[in-house]
C-alpha cells in the first residue's frame, strides 16, 4: 500500500468533515472560515496527487481571495442565517442522480498513473516528457545545449540557460502543458473584471446603499 494513498484517505476524511461542518453550521461567518479550511485541505490533496498548478490555484483563489470576497459579502448581508429549511426531497433526489451519473462517468477513466492511458500514449507526450521544447525560436533545444557545451569545454552554461527546461515545475505545467488553457483563462478573467467594473461603477461608498467596499 502506498503511503501517499494513506495520506489521501486521511485528507479526504478531513475534507468531508469540513464540508459537512460548513454546510451544517448556522453562523455564516463560521461557514466562511470552514470553507477556507476546506480549500487549504483540498489544496493539500491536489498536491499529493501531483497537480501543482491546481493546488496553487485552489490555495490562491479558494483560501485567499474567496475568503476575503465572502467576508466582504458578510459586510453587506449580516452573518446569521435566518431561514432554516427542511430537507427538500426532490432536490436531494436530483443531487443523488447527478452524483450517480458523474461517478458512472469516472468508471471509464484509466487507472491513476496508468502508463497506457491515452494521455501518455499520445505522440506529443514524449516531447513533453523530454522537455526539449525551446523557450524561444532562437533555439536552446537539447541539440543547441550540446553544441554550446562542445564549443565551451569545461564551462558551465550561463545563467538563464536551463537546457530548454522550464526551471519551475508550476511554470512548466502552466506555460508548456496548459498554455492555451491559461491564455484563455486570463482572457475570461479580464472580461469578468471589466464587466464588474462597468456594472459597479458609481455605486462606491456607503455599503448600506448597495455600494461595494
Amino acid at each position: 500500500m502506498n503511503g501517499i494513498v494513506v495520506l489521501d484517505m486521511a485528507l479526504l476524511a478531513l475534507i468531508l468533515m469540513t464540508a459537512i461542518g460548513a454546510v451544517e453550521v448556522r453562523n455564516l461567518y463560521s461557514a466562511i472560515m470552514l470553507s477556507s479550511v476546506y480549500s487549504l485541505l483540498m489544496a493539500c490533496f491536489w498536491m499529493t496527487n501531483d497537480a501543482w498548478d491546481v493546488a496553487f490555484t485552489e490555495a490562491a483563489v479558494g483560501a485567499g481571495i474567496s475568503t476575503i470576497l465572502l467576508i466582504g459579502t458578510l459586510v453587506l448581508t449580516g452573518s446569521i442565517e435566518t431561514v432554516r429549511r427542511a430537507v427538500s426531497w426532490p432536490a436531494l433526489l436530483v443531487c443523488a442522480l447527478a452524483s450517480a451519473i458523474l461517478i458512472y462517468g469516472t468508471l471509464d477513466m484509466p487507472r491513476y498513473g496508468d502508463p497506457k492511458a491515452p494521455a501518455h500514449t499520445h505522440p506529443l507526450y514524449s516531447g513533453f516528457v523530454k522537455q526539449d521544447i525551446p523557450k524561444h525560436p532562437s533555439g536552446r533545444s537539447a541539440a543547441d545545449v550540446a553544441a554550446y557545451e562542445a564549443a565551451h569545454p569545461g564551462k558551465s552554461h550561463g545563467p538563464d540557460f536551463f537546457h530548454g527546461h522550464v526551471p519551475n515545475q508550476v511554470t512548466s505545467v502552466i506555460v508548456t502543458y496548459r498554455a492555451y488553457d491559461t491564455m484563455f483563462e486570463t482572457a475570461v478573467i479580464l472580461t469578468a473584471g471589466l464587466s464588474l467594473i462597468l456594472l459597479l461603477r458609481g455605486r462606491r461608498g456607503n455599503p448600506q446603499r448597495g455600494g461595494l467596499l
Binding site: G3, V6, L14, S36, L41, M47, T67, I68, I71, L213
Partner: protein, 98 residues
C-alpha cells in the same frame, strides 16, 4: 527511492510519513474545535492553526517524496493563510473591510 536506502512497504520515507500522519491527526483535532467552537475566536484560531498544519503537511509531503520544490507551495500557503486571518480579524474588529 528514499534517502534511507531501505525499501519500506509504504514506498516513501517512513519518518516523514509518520510525521504527516501526526499532522493530519492534529488537523482533525483542530477541525473539531473549529466546527464545535462556541465563539468566533475559537473558529479564527482553528482556521489559522489548520492553515499552519496544511503548510507543514505540504512541506513534509515534499520531503517525503524527495521533491523539496514543494516548499514554494508551502510558502504561498503560509502567506495566504496570514492574509485570510488578517481580513477576518479586521472584519471582527471594524465590521467592514475597506
Amino acid at each position: 527511492m528514499n534517502t534511507l536506502g531501505a525499501v519500506n512497504p509504504f514506498g516513501i520515507d517512513l519518518p516523514m510519513l509518520s510525521a504527516c500522519v501526526v499532522m493530519v491527526v492534529a488537523t482533525a483535532l483542530i477541525l473539531i474545535r473549529a466546527i464545535k467552537g462556541p465563539t468566533a475566536y475559537d473558529r479564527i484560531l482553528g482556521m489559522n492553526a489548520a492553515g499552519t498544519c496544511a503548510v507543514l503537511i505540504v512541506a513534509l509531503i515534499g520531503f517525503a517524496t524527495q521533491r523539496p520544490d514543494f516548499l514554494d507551495l508551502a510558502l504561498a500557503y503560509a502567506i495566504l493563510n496570514f492574509l485570510g486571518t488578517i481580513a477576518i480579524l479586521k472584519f471582527v474588529k471594524y465590521k467592514r473591510l475597506g
